[in-house]
Amino acid sequence: MLNYTIRRLLFAIPTLLAISFIIFIVLDLSPGDPTGNLPLTIPPEVREQIRLSLGLGEPFPIRYLKWCQQFFINEPLNMIEQWTGWTIGSGERLRVLSWSTRSPVVDLVVERMPQTLWVVGMSQIVAVIIAVPIGVISAYKQYSIFDQIGTFISMIGFSVPTFFTGLILIVIFSVQLGWLPSVYDTTHRVTDWNSFWVQVRQMAMPTMVLALATTAQISRFMRASMLDNLNQDYVRTARAKGLRERSVVMIHVLRNSMIPVVTVIALGIPGVFGGAIITEQIFKVNGLGQLLILGIQGADIPLVQTLTFIFAVLIVMFNLIADVLYGILDPRIRYD
């Protein structure tokens, strides 16, 4: 397993380099002017100078290599310096800077990460907690009323987009009932039980909107996987052994059914880091998704390039993690 993991990690390097190059090409070809949002009174010569100062005067390959140097060498060295307090070399090196804010992109990401992890990450956890029991019961009592209702709700979760459910929730819970705030306050600090409760309330709606969509997906997977296993011969064997129905379902069926579901959950985690672009916009959560949108609107190429690349790294990593988990959970799978 270790050899397999190392081999996969080595293979990931050329893959990721290719991805970063493709992202760079796409962003370079896309229309958009980093000076487009500046006041119209700025004369064209000045605009040209601004572009040159951003490095846009260089040819494409040079710009790509410079980004590579900044991202793959300068940023990691900088991180090592911050963690250890050492000074490597002169300590003066060019980091990946956002064009619109002029601050390092990595700092922006670090700043935005907690909100996204709290809201989107919590929605994943809530979704798993809700979806697994629903899937198990729906499969065990296939075609029952519970199963029909579960199927119906999953269908809603699949088919109704988050911008719609989000607005509906705002209309009901913020406007009509006035129970929950419609705007997420990032400056809020949790210091005691009261402020914790405020935090819970402001997280409730964005979390539930995202959880509905994820629950729909996971509960369907869980149900299908359970149905697959419920008819297996070893389940009959377990019943013939005289086990309690509870042990039959929880130990024999559920554990075998979790194998594909766990990988689905693992593959969903990069999406957590990616944030939920639309939901974050609706509830004004200033997370990573919102950062990406702002970057795209302002043609902030280094920001978009770096964020997109970080997502790519996460996706490649969690694919590997899902494969390794599969090998751990299913003794029949051997990678070496």
């Binding site: 070893y234 064997t237 052994k241 005289g242 086990l243 042990s247 959970l329 299913d330 003794p331």
Partner: protein, 330 residues
């Protein structure tokens, strides 16, 4: 082999197992598959009753229904004089140690995520208060009994060959010291050299532990080797039930004759002029069995009465039972 032939261990009376067929938009019941349609027989203590018949005739369903892995539609089941046809839940669970099953497909019937040791130990855990050491000792003892290397207790089922897996299945079935074991085609998935080993193991265990088998198979020569009495099933019903020699030497039912004529003879001289009775047509669907005798659509000796009236399952002396109109007149 039979110490006391009258000592009945299992009594099956009019067992029916029908499965509903649902169809249409509203999934209304449109019919039933009559997988088992009225079985009546007894299994004596310590004997091996062979249950033979072609694929799809309801042998396995009968075996499972007798062990109450299904809820029978109709009929009475008794084991050691106790009616088990309607008991449920814990009462049924507590009877499981008495009756066990060896399944056909040794690959599919073992949980792929459990080690052999835990597969065998699980029923002990559930039904017997044992310390960890006692349980471990019992697992190893069972592995010895079925001829598995003790070192394999920590391995997973997929790491074994078919024959070894079937031994695991047997060890698991034996774990609770059952009296009655239904062997549901335990050798059908194994290759011939391994079949002999497993059959010998089953015989050996029967002798040592005093087991009673219901041996379900479509392999007539294997049943002849193993069984004391043989029941022949066709389309959900028993057509003939007799002691082994009587059935193989003097079959009474035309279906049994046809079935036996298909068994190859190891002697090339007699094999050369063995007359095969070839049945015409296909087995009717158990969802829509023919009127009268189930075998009337394919029987070479069919009479008019066969198409209208179901023949009764009668005793014709010396433990020879059959259901055929031909015999009624005789």
């Amino acid at each position: 082999m039979l110490d006391n032939p009258q000592n009945v261990l299992v009594r099956v009376d009019g067992l029916k197992m029908h499965f509903p067929i649902y169809a249409g938009i509203l999934r209304r019941q449109v019919g039933t598959v009559k997988a088992v349609d009225g079985l009546t027989f007894e299994i004596f203590d310590g004997e091996t009753l062979g249950l033979v018949g072609e694929s799809g005739c309801g042998k396995s369903t009968a075996g499972r229904a007798i062990l109450r892995l299904y809820d029978p539609t109709e009929g009475k089941l008794e084991i050691e004089g106790r009616d088990i046809s309607t008991i449920k839940g814990d009462a049924l669970r507590n009877l499981r140690p008495k009756m066990q099953m060896i399944f056909q497909d040794p690959q599919a019937c073992l949980n792929p995520r459990m080690t052999v040791g835990s597969i065998i130990a699980e029923p002990l855990d559930e039904h017997q208060a044992m310390s960890k050491e006692e349980r471990q000792a019992r697992v190893l003892e069972l592995m010895d009994q079925v001829g598995l290397n003790r070192d394999f207790a920590g391995r997973y089922p997929h790491e074994f060959s078919g024959g070894q897996r079937q031994r695991i299945g047997i060890a698991r079935a034996l774990a609770l010291n059952p009296k009655f074991i239904v062997c549901d085609e335990p050798i059908a998935a194994l290759d011939v050299s391994i079949q002999a080993q497993v059959v010998n193991l089953l015989e050996d265990l029967q002798e040592r532990l005093g087991l009673t088998y219901l041996f379900i198979s479509h392999d007539l020569s294997m049943v002849r080797h193993l069984a004391t009495r043989v029941a022949v099933m066709y389309l959900g019903r028993i057509v003939e039930l007799a002691p082994r020699e009587a059935l193989y030497d003097r079959p009474k039912h035309p279906y049994t004759e046809a079935l036996l004529s298909a068994v190859p003879n190891p002697d090339p001289e007699t094999e050369a002029d063995r007359k095969r009775i070839i049945l015409q047509g296909d087995v009717p669907s158990p969802a829509n069995p023919p009127k009268g005798c189930n075998f009337c659509t394919r029987c070479p000796k069919v009479m008019d009465i066969c198409r209208t009236e179901t023949p009764a399952f009668r005793h014709y002396g010396n433990g020879h039972h059959a259901a055929c109109h031909l015999l009624e007149g005789a």
